[in-house]
């Protein structure tokens, strides 16, 4: 299209940011890299948030598409070639200038570059490679770069790009290959999983090489992926099982879940009158944490018979209530992994408990200072053999009390008025009981 030629940088930035915003990943985490005294930039492993947009999400990277032109027509995507939207493309130089000037003003932590597919996957991947090459070698940018690999692109291009990026991702898009076939006919499990495996192997080979000699680093912050939730009928159990498989078999650093927004008003896709399924997305993230930091397995949290998360209780509380035989846990004795399973004890406070009790017996007030959320933990723990209050180790009793704790449903969702409740509330306690 010709219009792109005369379009101002501002207009392009507007269009290509708008088109990139549904991608949820925006973290700059996973790599520590000190400055080198010459180039601009360094990286901190925990990542840094630079601002929060009106939807409350962290903005860390300049998240843009190279182009929103696309030869394909995935039905959930705004850039589908069947859509009548304004199209634009950056040049590599424009992206470099924006990144450098934003970075030195401390607006951003780096670049997150993704793209629609212009001409062919190889053609697009090459443009992305060119951009990263200029940024690293002409502008000497040493900050964070997250790049999306284009499904179907030449493995050689993917590999070369991996030496310039900190993190790479290929979106799984949908949890099952069936759904993928229906909604994204040009993508397949194969074109997605093949490069994912390639990058995984590349990272491993690079690690081995780095042990014996100095070498350029390949995707040092690891890979991530994203799944759209709520566009297709998969259960939480299916979604989490896929995530678990990706962590275990593909060594992924993160799996992101994106509550579906029906941007195309496509009649093949659910309309979700309550808006995007935010509470469901939230529960999936909580469960994801349990997999990554708390040594839980999906089979402990969900099953064929209980395929979806409880919307009133977070997955950990829900698990604990169904496993009262494991409680109460004695704070001054239980090992780290057992502490991790107690509702109200996060992995940081579990670590602090293990440290602090070496130097003296802990009491409930110590726990509070350490950061334990006592109003949640108190049903499940003893300190020196005593419970905090006389409570019953009884499923209904604890459940009722925990639900009285309004913080169990995240504030942002509580305050959006439980619009999405109707989607799940079958077989649940009546919402009034909790809202009052």
């Amino acid at each position: 299209m010709q219009i792109t030629q005369e379009m101002s940088l501002m207009e392009k930035l507007h269009i290509l940011t708008d088109a990139a915003k549904y991608d949820v990943a925006c973290t700059s985490s996973g790599v520590d890299r000190a400055g080198n005294g010459k180039s601009m930039g360094n990286c901190l492993a925990p990542g840094i948030c630079h601002t929060f947009s009106a939807d409350g999400r962290c903005v860390s990277l300049l998240k843009i598409l190279f182009t929103n032109e696309c030869i394909f027509n995935c039905s959930y995507c705004l850039n589908s070639c069947e859509n009548d939207v304004k199209r634009a493309s950056f040049t590599p130089e424009e992206i470099c200038t924006l990144t450098m000037e934003f970075y030195r003003r401390n607006y951003i932590e780096g670049l997150f570059l993704s793209s629609g597919i212009l001409v062919s996957p190889d053609y697009t991947m090459d443009l992305i490679y060119q951009t990263l090459y200029q940024l690293r070698h002409i502008h000497h940018f040493n900050g964070y770069i997250h790049v999306k690999s284009i499904p179907g692109a030449d493995p050689v291009l993917v590999e070369q790009t991996g030496y310039l990026a900190d993190r790479m991702s290929i979106n799984l898009e949908l949890p099952t290959s069936d759904s993928l076939r229906k909604l994204a006919p040009y993508k397949s499990r194969k074109t997605i999983l093949k490069p994912m495996r390639q990058i995984q192997n590349g990272i491993q080979a690079n690690k081995n090489e780095l042990m014996i000699r100095k070498a350029p680093r390949f995707v040092p912050a690891g890979q991530s992926t994203q799944m759209i939730i709520g566009a297709t009928p998969e259960s939480d159990f299916q979604v989490m099982s896929v995530a678990e498989g990706l962590y275990q078999n593909f060594g992924l650093k993160r799996v992101f879940y994106s509550a579906f927004v029906n941007v195309n008003h496509n009649s093949n896709l659910p309309m979700l009158p309550g808006g995007p399924p935010l509470l469901r997305e939230h529960r999936l993230y909580q469960a994801d944490w349990l997999l990554r930091y708390y040594h839980f397995q999906v089979s402990e949290l969900l099953s064929e018979d209980r395929p979806d998360f409880n919307i009133f209780l977070d997955p950990k509380c829900d698990w604990a209530i169904r496993h009262l035989e494991c409680f109460p846990v004695e704070i001054n004795q239980a090992d780290y992994r057992t502490l991790l399973r107690v509702p109200g004890i996060g992995y940081k406070s579990a670590g602090r408990i293990v440290q602090a009790r070496k130097h003296g017996t802990l009491t409930f007030s110590d726990l509070k200072k350490i950061g334990v959320v006592l109003k949640r933990a108190l049903y499940f723990i003893t300190c020196n053999g005593r419970m905090m209050y006389p409570t019953k180790l009884d499923e209904d009793y604890i459940c009722r009390n925990l639900m009285g704790d309004r913080t169990l449903i995240p504030r942002e969702i509580r305050e959006s008025g439980y619009r999405q409740l109707s989607l799940f509330d079958e077989g649940m306690v009546s919402p009034e009981a909790i809202l009052s």
Binding site: L44, T51, G56, T361
Partner: protein
């Protein structure tokens, strides 16, 4: 009880600790307090003012580093850099006292580098809380701080943090932007970190900032600000709009130091 009153700074509190040992009243009979921490004088207490002395403070620092390790040392400094509101001062152990008694405990146990694990101890716990508060704000500010390019190419940033985090920020940006000339100005404390391309940064007291100088932006400055605003507004998803979550994640007191939320760009 002997109460030693010291200045609210690293040198001040370290000088206080030195004298608390030197005077030999016994640690049980000695308390340290910052000047701000003394609002009513108590009966049967003897108050002494301690003069801040950089050389003495350096001696204390050396002892702490060699006996407790650099990690504990920097946590202590971080705790001292924390701001205590009048309300907090009423409810909690005074900062100087918490640091002092933590040091006493740390030097009395065989493995002093583990002192900060004694979270059951109220003094250590207070040090931990204070240090965490400084660390958290510094980490936030690493992201929320903004530079503006002045006419002469210098990057200038004005900040209003609660805690004294300027050195932590200056360290970070010296590493990140080694070839830039930049200034970070802590406006409430009237202290600036000044970094010249290719060198270390320096701290300078700036009682009166030259408003003309710091408001002379380069030609390109407005253009990039506008581009940033365009990006900032385009990245939000309308269907998920949530101002409460936004201000929960980015507390309003930081807004004035950003470009996109300060309301004056």
């Amino acid at each position: 009880m002997h109460i030693l009153i010291c200045e609210n700074s690293i040198d001040g509190i370290f000088s206080g600790i030195y004298h608390a040992y030197e005077k030999r009243y016994g640690h049980k009979n000695t308390q340290l307090s910052t000047i701000e921490g003394v609002d009513t004088y108590q009966l049967f207490c003897e108050y002494e003012d301690i003069t801040t002395d950089a050389a003495i403070s350096q001696k204390v620092a050396n002892t702490l580093i060699s006996r407790l390790g650099t990690e504990v040392y920097s946590e202590l400094c971080q705790a001292i850099s924390a701001y205590e509101s009048p309300n907090e001062r009423k409810k909690h152990i005074n900062k100087a006292e918490a640091v002092y008694k933590t040091v006493v405990l740390g030097l009395s146990i065989p493995n002093g580098s583990h002192i900060l694990e004694y979270l059951g101890n109220p003094y250590v716990n207070r040090v931990f809380q204070l240090s965490l508060s400084t660390f958290n704000e510094a980490h936030h500010m690493l992201g929320f701080l903004r530079f503006s390019e002045l006419e002469n190419g210098i990057l200038f940033s004005r900040i209003h943090p609660k805690n004294y985090i300027l050195p932590l920020l200056a360290d970070h940006f010296t590493d990140r932007l080694p070839q830039e000339n930049f200034i970070i100005y802590d406006e409430p404390r009237k202290i600036a970190a000044v970094h010249k391309s290719g060198s270390r940064y320096m701290l300078a007291e700036v009682p009166q900032a030259d408003e003309n100088f710091i408001n002379q932006f380069s030609d390109k400055e407005q253009e990039y600000r506008t581009l940033w605003l365009t990006f900032f507004h385009s990245i939000a998803i309308e269907a998920r709009k949530n101002p409460k979550l936004q201000s929960q994640n980015l507390p309003k007191r930081f807004w004035q130091d950003t470009i996109e939320l300060s309301g004056n760009s």
